[in-house]
């Protein structure tokens, strides 16, 4: 699918979903392997922090159903949530079944409630999502990780879970993260990575590559503040050389083009923004030199 076809997706909102899915999913979208199994997943996923915490609001739920429709139409895969995100898991559980199984490539990822009883919290999340099981369970923000991580590996051993991971955000507890990455056979780690927050490039991403651990980049837009900031400036002309028609593609391509990054999980409640986010999976990707140029450009704004 080329860029023109991709952009035309915005006008497909009324097309019946199965037809839309078959028609729109780009065959050449950027897929990344999960090192521990080789399974390939789309490089752009979706976060649900704040955006899916809308409670029982029927208007907001209808809006998010359209966001999910666009996500799957573009061949999205990973949806990441947490019991700490308020009603987000319940909202997903209400919306996902409305697609009648037409959620190709859905990769369910959630987290273990930091202070609670692990197994019962996981079961509660499963009931809220209305799924048989999760693809990925992660220890949220590393709190009580020693207790929870054993539970997760036991679940994986029993075949109740496919992947185990740990998460942090905002650049916190990276020393602890690195230690757990060295000591445990993790499938995934999740941490903050974007064009300005690059600390993970020094140790975590190299270690993830060395240990064969998939990396999920959270806060790709710094919860919106980064995108709001850069959008006050014109996109550099050379962004066209890497098929970035707008800032969201610019920021996301910077992340997913890192060789050790498996997936970025921007969050949005706007269909238009979902189209923009998913466009970062297609077209030319920046090489190492261009990535440095991208970071320098944004830092200088």
């Amino acid at each position: 699918m080329n860029r023109r076809q991709f952009i035309s997706l915005a006008g497909l909102g009324l097309t019946p979903l199965p037809q839309l899915l078959r028609a729109a999913v780009s065959e050449d979208r950027l897929m990344r392997p999960i090192p521990s199994t080789g399974e390939r997943i789309p490089a752009i996923g979706m976060g649900t922090w704040v955006t899916f915490n809308i409670g029982n609001d029927p208007v907001a739920r209808a809006q998010l159903r359209d966001v999910l429709r666009a996500f799957f139409a573009h061949g999205g895969g990973m949806i990441d949530s947490s019991p700490m995100y308020g009603s987000a898991e319940a909202v997903l559980g209400q919306l996902l079944p409305q697609f009648g199984g037409e959620t190709p490539g859905l990769f369910t990822a959630t987290k273990v409630w930091t202070s609670g009883d692990g197994p019962s919290d996981i079961e509660n999340s499963r009931r809220l999502w209305r799924v048989d099981g999760f693809d990925l369970l992660q220890v949220h923000n590393l709190l009580a990780w020693e207790r929870h991580i054993e539970t997760l590996f036991e679940m994986k051993e029993r075949g109740e879970l496919r992947y185990v991971g740990i998460t942090t955000s905002h650049g916190r507890r990276h020393r602890d993260m690195l230690r757990v990455m060295r000591d445990w056979p993790l499938d995934f780690v999740q941490a903050t990575y974007n064009v300005l927050d690059r600390e993970v490039e020094r140790e975590m991403l190299p270690l993830a590559a060395e240990r064969g651990i998939a990396f999920i980049a959270n806060r790709p837009y710094r919860r919106g503040s980064l995108i709001n900031f850069v959008q006050r400036h014109p996109l550099p002309a050379w962004a066209a050389d890497i098929d970035c028609p707008h800032w969201p593609a610019f920021l996301l391509k910077f992340i997913v083009s890192h060789p050790a990054v498996t997936c970025a999980i921007p969050a949005t409640s706007q269909v238009e923004h979902m189209h923009e986010n998913m466009s970062a999976m297609v077209g030319r990707m920046p090489d190492a030199d261009t990535r440095e140029r991208m970071a320098a450009h944004v830092a200088a704004l």
Binding site: I54, G55, M84, G86, H170, R172
Partner: protein
């Protein structure tokens, strides 16, 4: 400790401003036409401030107790708790305030002090705060381009309810009413932090006005003000 210090206030905000404001629209829709009863309650309280009778303090306390219980149940528990994990805790605190007001309404010694025993001047800081909570505060949302269905009304919205209650209590005996001031003032502070986390600085107005009214009441010359009403 170092970890906590690295968080920004907005990092604790688990919902979007749009989702927060929608709570008011949903709560208003749920209650309609109950708003008419709330308007009657507000007029009754206003009347009690201007034309207090021997049992006005008792009725005012009981009415306010019912209003606080309703905000706890309808707004905080039923709607706000959908998007804020802490909202049920807030609801319990509002119920505590309702119980305190109920106790005042039932206590033979306290009930007369909730309100002033004499007609309250229209220039009394408490009266001004009460009228602001009823009539001006709901307009703020409209000025911010929020739909009128989401107006923050006394008896539904916690900010308006806290301000109106503070206004009434400030007209009575501060020496007797001070325990009743704690929850409304605390709520104004919590609400201000929520708005700051959302980046909506105007949301600190209720806290600023509540403190200003309290300070103005403390430094008010009762004799001169009372004379002014005659």
């Amino acid at each position: 400790m170092q970890d906590w210090a690295s968080y920004a206030l907005s990092d604790f905000l688990m919902f979007s401003p749009a989702s927060y404001y929608r709570r008011y629209e949903l709560a208003n829709a749920d209650l309609w036409p109950g708003q008419l009863l709330l308007a009657a309650a507000a007029i009754t309280l206003l009347w009690a401030l201007r034309r207090p009778g021997p049992r006005s303090g008792q009725w005012a306390a009981l009415l306010l107790a019912a209003v606080w219980a309703m905000v706890a149940g309808l707004f905080l528990h039923r709607h706000y708790a959908q998007i804020n994990l802490a909202a049920d805790g807030f609801a319990l605190v509002f119920l505590l305030q309702a119980l305190l007001l109920l106790a005042c309404g039932l206590s033979p010694t306290w009930r007369q002090r909730v309100l002033a025993a004499r007609p309250v001047s229209t220039r009394h800081p408490g009266m001004l705060l009460f009228v602001y909570a009823l009539l001006v505060h709901p307009l703020f949302g409209l000025l911010a381009d929020r739909p009128w269905q989401g107006v923050e009304l006394f008896g539904i919205a916690p900010d308006a309810t806290a301000l109106a209650t503070l206004g009434i209590l400030l007209t009575g005996s501060l020496a007797a009413n001070w325990p009743l001031l704690i929850v409304p003032l605390t709520w104004c502070a919590i609400s201000a932090l929520t708005y700051l986390a959302m980046g909506h600085v105007h949301g600190i107005a209720p806290l600023v006005l509540a403190i200003a009214a309290l300070v103005a009441t403390l430094f008010r010359n009762p004799t001169r003000a009372d004379n002014a009403t005659r």
